[in-house]
């Protein structure tokens, strides 16, 4: 056994062991370590007495406070709902017109609708509802299925081309791909459609417009209306305004007519409460209202 030596810096003895030059001092465990060990252990024991802690076969010690995280969270959710009920119950009962006429209720609609929309709808429609390619702009006031709160609420409830049984169905056929129209006819009607919204056309396009007008009357007017103003019953968009789902340039319109379009909007019934759907319908209404 090696001899213990004294460390000149601390004045402590070493343990007498040495490993490749490393030695250890025989310093006793500092009091403060023992104190904190005792203090934290006492805290742990106290906590075990008060809270659910140790398993006992099929059950466990419940703790003196009778604390149960499931009960607590259920109660908290109930309390929060009860607190909100002061206004949510009125939203649930009142008609859309009554709510819209009540500024206090509309403040709640705006407050809550903003986050509800951002959390559920913004992935597709954007945080401000302005949409993007393939996803309609909800702030434009140009509606596929109608802009009344009732119509919007119904769209949210059942969705469009969704998996819900009573989904709204929007079918824009693939006129080119399925051979309903010849290539020439497709090009002609594309030019005509573009003329409806007053876009600048090239000369070639200009020349096709009259032929396109005939193709339109025969094939498209049934859904998009004789003047191309769209039809809310079928979800057919207004082709005369500046708002496009898929784009109003020649290539995009050509793609729409050639390949058809079926947008998918999920149904929210069962995922959002009827009150939330009602609230969102009103909120979506304010998106375009605010800009006018």
């Amino acid at each position: 056994m090696a001899e213990a030596t004294r460390d000149p810096v601390t004045g402590r003895e070493t343990t007498g062991h040495e490993w490749n030059g490393i030695e250890e001092l025989d310093t006793p465990i500092p009091r403060v370590v023992l104190f904190f060990l005792a203090a934290t252990t006492l805290f742990a024991i106290g906590y075990w007495l008060l809270m659910p802690a140790w398993p006992l076969g099929w059950t466990y010690t419940k703790g003196l406070l009778g604390n149960d995280q499931r009960e607590i969270v259920t109660r908290q959710v109930q309390d929060a709902a009860a607190e909100r009920a002061s206004w949510t119950s009125r939203i649930a009962k009142a008609s859309f017109a009554e709510i819209a006429a009540d500024p206090a209720l509309m403040r709640h609609v705006r407050d809550t609708g903003r986050t509800l929309f951002a959390d559920n709808c913004a992935v597709c429609h954007g945080t401000e509802g302005k949409g993007g390619p393939g996803f309609p702009n909800l702030a434009a006031g140009s509606w596929l299925w109608g802009g009344t709160p009732e119509a919007i609420a119904e769209t949210i409830r059942v969705g469009i081309n969704s998996t819900a049984k009573d989904t709204r169905t929007a079918q824009m056929m693939a006129f080119g791909r399925d051979g309903v129209l010849q290539r020439e006819q497709v090009l002609a009607v594309v030019s005509y459609v573009r003329s409806l919204s007053g876009q600048k056309l090239t000369e070639t396009e200009q020349a096709r417009v009259p032929a396109g007008k005939e193709v339109f009357a025969a094939n498209c007017a049934a859904c998009h209306g004789p003047e191309g103003k769209g039809m809310h019953d079928l979800g057919a968009p207004d082709l005369t305004d500046a708002h496009w789902i898929y784009g109003g340039d020649e290539q995009s319109v050509l793609n729409s007519v050639h390949g058809g379009r079926q947008g998918h909007m999920p149904s929210w019934e069962g995922r959002l409460s009827p009150t939330d759907i009602k609230l969102l319908a009103l909120y979506v209404g304010t998106l375009s209202g605010d800009r006018k």
Binding site: M1, D7, V9, T10, T14, T15, H17, E18, W19, N20, G21, I22, E23, E24, L25, D26, T27, P28, I29, P30, V33, F36, L37, T40, T41, F43, A44, Y47, W48, M51, P52, A53, W54, P55, Y60, T61, N67, D68, Q69, V73, A80, E83, R84, W87, R107, H108, D111, T112, R114, T115, L116, F117, A118, D119, A122, T127
Partner: protein, 553 residues
């Protein structure tokens, strides 16, 4: 290096390489059309490569008998180089994932470069590649020096080191191809896991065999920690990875656990991976290189003992603090929380023991960046364990959980503690291993120190801020009694912090590159000079004939 193997050892190396190549071939055939087949090709090439390497030196003369009177350090040297290589790769991927969160378009529109794939390349690259190689390399060194026994043979350490790196390569390449078990820090699939079991058990046995042959009557603390690291990681790895492959020709498997049991097993593993991989192993490093570099005795032997047993006992219970307020029964959460609180005491005792050891050497800490790395590591170790125990309290966790605060905590531990102690130890070790009196450029060590420290601080502060803002945004209500912020608003609010984090991470990466360069130049310096026989303070002190080294074989 192959020339240092005896002919018999060369033969077993050839046999092992052939065995690996053979398994690669089987995987390639059984898994053709699956990622398993691609991994088969990698394993096959790996085996053939080593076969060729050994064959090329097969007819070299036998090494002289005199080698047995010296320690066997070649695996340590290679381990150091591998560790630094993985550090640069792993941290590069880290900076990339950090940048992705601020600039999502940086995924290059390629599947392999998507967030979900390169994130585990980063975590495995730094933890297993950088950390693991450093642990294996230093453990061989510390083990021999503190037992005065040579490693028992010259093949096993290579098998452990190279086999372990094969695992790392399979893991990282698998992630890029979309292979994952979806268990954090245990992503590799069943075949990689099985291979690691073989490697790891061999590692443990190697450790025991060397210890058994020790010439020192007592086992030094560092070895307790290294052993706890090896043993517990084996247990954790085996249990958490129990799974049934859907077929032997497929990379995919299903875990034996499901639901809340799966979650608990995973976080029992996850937290003890923190405890025994990222803490115990590196404490082993600290207990050797810090006193050695400072030239001071360990402050208190008794404190080492209670902290060792405190840490090993208490950590085992703490995993459930990762699952607060989940479907996990509340009593399990209580146990995780209370043991985490008690755990603070042995953790701080370890950190305190390290810092008190520096008493009488603070002038060296001031002048020597290598020692300063180790000192700062001990400070961050104390900081992150305090934070961890605090976050383990349920009420605090309800704010911090799922936020960047956790990420900030992780990196106070991973950058501040794990990486700093590793760099400090490697800077001490490299001149000893290559037998030069000092590192190529102490100035660059100084530069690295400040890069690492500022990078860590920027990173951790950015994540504390973003984490707490996130946590608060998620729980703020408006007058209507509904949530005031949407999730996407909290994401937008994080952006400045994500940019800051990318900057901090880049500084840290730059430091690692400086370290790799410095070590590389040191090796070159040693090569150019030829080996001088001054091993510094690294060779065993030989007070008498009785204290000679226990030879190998």
């Amino acid at each position: 290096m192959i020339a240092t193997l005896t002919v018999a050892e060369r033969q077993s190396a050839i046999a092992l390489s052939m065995l690996v190549a053979f398994f690669g071939l089987i995987m390639m055939i059984a898994g053709s059309g699956d990622v398993l087949g691609v991994h088969g090709v990698i394993v096959l090439l790996f085996g053939l490569g080593f076969l060729g390497l050994v064959m090329s030196k097969y007819f070299e003369p036998e090494p002289p008998q005199e080698r047995l009177t010296r320690y066997y350090d070649d695996p340590t040297k290679v381990g150091i180089v591998l560790s630094l290589g993985w550090a640069v790769v792993g941290m590069f991927f880290g900076v990339w994932v950090a940048a992705l969160l601020a600039w999502p378009d940086l995924t290059l529109d390629a599947g392999w470069a998507s967030f979900g794939r390169i994130r585990p390349v980063h975590t495995s690259g730094v933890i297993f590649g950088f950390g693991g190689n450093a642990l294996i390399a230093t453990s061989f060194h510390v083990l021999q020096r503190t037992t005065r026994a040579r490693l028992p043979d010259q093949v096993t350490p290579w098998f452990v080191l190279i086999g372990y790196n094969l695992f790392c390569v399979i893991a990282a390449s698998g992630y890029l191809m979309g292979v994952t078990q979806s268990k954090e820090y245990a992503e590799p699939e069943w075949y990689a896991d099985l291979w690691l079991v073989v490697v790891w058990v061999t590692y443990f046995l190697l450790y025991l065999r060397t210890l058994q042959r020790r010439k020192e009557p007592h086992i030094y603390v560092a070895n307790w920690y290294y052993m706890a690291f090896i043993l517990v990681v084996a247990v954790l790895h085996i249990v958490n990875n129990l799974a049934v492959p859907i077929s032997f020709g497929s990379a995919k498997s299903y875990s034996l656990f499901s639901g809340v049991q799966d979650a608990m097993t995973q976080w029992w593993y996850g937290h003890n991976a923190v405890a025994f991989f990222l803490t115990a192993g590196f404490l082993g490093m600290l207990y050797y290189y810090l006193p050695k570099r400072a030239g001071r005795p360990i402050f208190s032997y008794r404190l080492s003992i209670i902290s060792f047993w405190g840490i090993t006992f208490m950590y085992m219970w703490a995993g459930s603090h990762h699952l607060h307020y989940t479907a996990l029964p509340q009593w399990v959460q209580t146990l995780g929380m209370t043991f985490s609180v008690v755990l603070l005491v042995p953790s701080w005792a370890s950190a305190g023991n390290a810092l008190a050891t520096l008493n009488g050497a603070w002038d060296k800490v001031r002048d020597d960046a290598t020692l300063r790395f180790m000192m700062v590591a001990a400070v961050f170790y104390g900081l992150s364990t305090f934070e961890g125990s605090f976050m383990a309290i349920r009420a605090v966790n309800s704010l911090s959980h799922y936020t960047d605060w956790t990420v900030g905590h992780v990196h106070a531990g991973a950058l501040g503690w794990v990486a700093m102690i590793t760099f400090g130890s490697l800077y001490a070790l490299v001149p000893w291993m290559w037998k030069v009196e000092r590192i190529y450029s102490p100035k660059l060590v100084e530069v690295h120190f400040w890069l690492a420290l500022s990078g860590t601080i920027i990173y951790v502060f950015a994540m504390w801020n973003s984490g707490i803002i996130q946590g608060l945004m998620w729980r703020t209500y408006n007058d209507s009694g509904t949530l005031a912020f949407s999730f996407i608003e909290s994401v937008v609010a994080m952006r400045p912090y994500y940019i800051a984090r990318t900057v901090g991470g880049s500084l840290f990466l730059l430091g690692a590159i400086v370290a790799a360069y410095n070590v590389w130049m040191t090796i070159r310096m040693a090569r150019l000079r030829g080996v001088t026989e001054t091993g510094g303070t690294d060779e065993p002190v030989l007070p008498g004939a009785g204290a000679a080294l226990q030879p190998g074989e």
